[in-house]
Symmetry: C2
Subunit: 326 residues, 2 copies
C-alpha cells in the first residue's frame, strides 16, 4: 500500500481523497491543513492534522499530494515539501512552470525525492496529448479548446464587481473554430474566434444591472477579448442549475505526413467531465503512484508527466497491460 | 544524428522513409530487403541493400525499424534483429503480444539493446489512450472504434473469392454506438452493433455477382458477424475513388469519479488519417528516437510505448517542452 498524505483540503483535496480512498493500492493517512484542524471535517472521516505535523511523519508518508492554489500556495509549498517527501502538485500557471520546475528540482534532488508537477488535465493530460500528437506529426498546428465548463477564475472576477451577489462563468468553444481545425484548414485565431464566455449573474437587490453587464464585458483580459453573454438570474436558479463544476475540452493537432506533405491527419483528445476537481484529483492520485515507483527505483528530482512512463500511472500489472490494454 | 535502417520496404517502410527523411535529428542510412536489392527503388533514392548485409553494419546503424508483416515476418525477424540492433516494430497481433514481447526481451537483453514493439497507432497510440484513460478513471469501460478506414486484411479476404478481380473494404463505426458510449450509457455491444463493413468489389467478366455477395456476407469472422454492404463497381471506379489507405478511429473511456461514483466523465482519443501507413511510419520514427535515447542511458530489453517517457518521443528539448507544450 502506498501511504498518501493530502496537503490542503479544498475541492481538489476532496477529489484526491475520493480517488485515493477508492484505489486498491493506496492508503490515505491524513489530510494536512493550515487552518485549525478541528475546523476541517473530511468526507471520509480521514484524520485532519496541522500542516506542521507533517515534519514528524516522514516514515508514515510515501507521497504527499499538494492541493493548494497555483497563485500563492504551490510556488513555496511544493519546493518546501519536496525537501522532505515525494510530492505531486497540479501547478497550472503556464508562464511560471520553468521557474517552478527548477525550484522543485533543486529541493527534490537534494533530498533524494521525486516531485512531479503540473499533474492535472491542463497542464497534465492535455500536455500529454500535445506531445504525443506533436511527436507523430512534427509538421502541423496544435490547438487547445476549453469547455464547455466552469472557469472559477472568471466566476470570481465577476463576483468582485460592485452589485454582484454571485456568479458562474462558462467557457465555451466556438464550434465553427473546432470544425475548421478538424478540416485541416490550419486557421490562425484571435481569442474571440476560439471561445465564448457565458455569464450567469445574481445581482444584489437594487443593483444597476446595465452597469454590471458593462463592467463584465469591458473587463480587460478576462472578458474584453471575447464575445460575452450576461444573463441575470436569481440565487435560487444559480444554485439549482449551476452548482456543479463541469469542464473539459479538446486538444487537436492537424498535421501532414508524406514526403510532399500530401496527407492530412488530425489527432484529437477530448475530455468531458462532470466534475473538474474530481477528475484532477484522480490524475493526481495516479501520478502519486508513479512518483512512488520512480523514487523506489532510485530516481530523484523534479518531473512532469512528460517524464513518466505511462505504465507507472496504472494499477495494472505488466502482464495485464500486455494482454489486455496494448 | 540518429542513424536509422529500415528492414522491409512496403507501405509502412515508405511511411518510415518519409518520416525519417524529414526528421532533423535522424539520418536514413539504408533500406534492407529480402528481395533482390536491384529490384527495389526507394522514393528518396536511399540505398537498398540485401537483408544479410545488415550484420556487417553494426556501427553504422543506431536503430533498425522493422517494417514486416505481423503474421509471418515479425515473430522471427524482431527477435533476430534485436540480438544485434536497437529495434522498433509495429507488431499488431494482439493475442500473441505477450509471447512476442518475451522473445524480443530475451534477445535484446542478452545483446544489451532496446526493442520497442507494437509502435503503431493500434497497438501504439490507441494503447496509450487506453492506459491514460484507465489510470485516471479506474472505474469505467473502454471502447475502441475503428474507421472509417480501409482494412487491408478484409480487402485481401474479398480478393481471394472466386470471380473477384479487386476489392476494397472500409470498416465503419456505428454512429449510434459511439453516441451511446459518449452518453455514459456503458453499453455492452456485439461486434455487429459497433462496426459496419462496406465492400467495393470489381467482379471478373461473367462472374456470378450474387454468389460473390453471398460468399462475402457469410464469411466467418471477417464478415458474418457484421452488417455488410457489397457494391459492385468497375476497376476504373475503384482506382479513382478508393486508391487511398485512410483510417482512424476512437478510443473512448466512460468512467465515474466521486466517492459514490456520482460524476460521469468521458476521455476520448480520435485519429483521422489520410494515410494509415504514413502515420504508422511517423510513430515508428518517433519510437526509434526513444529507443536510441533509452539504450544510450544504459537500458536494454523489450519495451512497449507504456514504458517510454513521452519526452523521449519528442524532438523538442526539455526547455522547449516545459515552456511551450506543458
Amino acid at each position: 500500500m502506498i501511504k498518501i498524505g493530502i496537503a490542503g483540503y479544498g475541492n481538489i483535496g476532496r477529489g484526491v481523497e475520493a480517488a485515493v480512498t477508492r484505489s486498491h493500492d493506496m492508503e490515505l493517512v491524513a489530510v494536512f491543513t493550515r487552518r485549525d484542524p478541528l475546523s476541517v471535517h473530511t468526507v471520509t472521516g480521514t484524520q485532519v492534522l496541522a500542516y506542521d505535523q507533517m515534519d514528524s511523519m516522514k516514515d508514515d508518508l510515501d507521497v504527499v499530494i499538494i492541493c493548494g492554489g497555483s497563485a500563492t500556495d504551490l510556488p513555496w509549498m511544493t519546493p518546501e515539501l519536496a525537501s522532505k517527501f515525494n510530492v505531486i502538485d497540479s501547478f497550472d500557471n503556464h508562464a511560471n512552470i520553468p521557474e517552478h520546475f527548477a525550484n522543485v528540482d533543486a529541493a527534490a534532488s537534494a533530498a533524494g525525492k521525486v516531485g512531479i508537477i503540473s499533474c492535472g488535465w491542463d497542464p497534465g493530460y492535455f500536455s500529454l496529448a500535445r506531445i504525443l500528437a506533436d511527436s507523430a506529426l512534427p509538421e502541423g498546428d496544435s490547438y487547445t479548446f476549453w469547455g464547455r465548463g466552469v472557469s472559477q477564475g472568471h466566476s470570481d472576477a465577476i463576483r468582485r464587481i460592485e452589485g454582484v451577489k454571485d456568479a458562474r462563468q462558462y467557457t465555451v468553444p466556438v464550434e465553427a473554430a473546432v470544425e475548421s481545425v478538424r478540416n485541416n484548414e490550419h486557421p490562425e485565431f484571435t481569442a474571440r474566434q476560439m471561445h465564448l464566455r457565458e455569464c450567469w449573474v445574481v445581482a444584489e437587490d437594487g443593483a444597476d444591472k446595465a452597469a454590471i453587464e458593462e463592467a463584465i464585458k469591458t473587463m480587460p483580459n478576462y472578458f474584453e477579448p471575447y464575445d460575452t453573454t450576461v444573463t441575470f438570474i436569481t440565487q435560487e436558479e444559480l444554485d439549482r442549475d449551476h452548482s456543479g463544476l463541469p469542464h473539459g475540452g479538446s486538444v487537436i493537432r492537424s498535421g501532414r505526413t508524406g514526403l510532399d506533405s500530401e496527407f492530412d491527419n488530425t489527432v484529437e483528445f477530448t475530455l468531458n467531465l462532470d466534475s473538474n476537481p474530481f477528475f484532477t484529483g484522480s490524475i493526481l492520485a495516479a501520478a502519486a503512484r508513479a512518483a512512488y515507483r520512480m523514487n523506489s527505483e532510485g530516481q530523484s528530482g523534479a518531473r512532469t508527466l512528460f517524464d513518466v512512463p505511462p505504465a507507472y500511472l496504472s494499477h495494472h500489472t505488466r502482464e495485464e497491460l500486455l494482454a489486455h490494454m496494448l
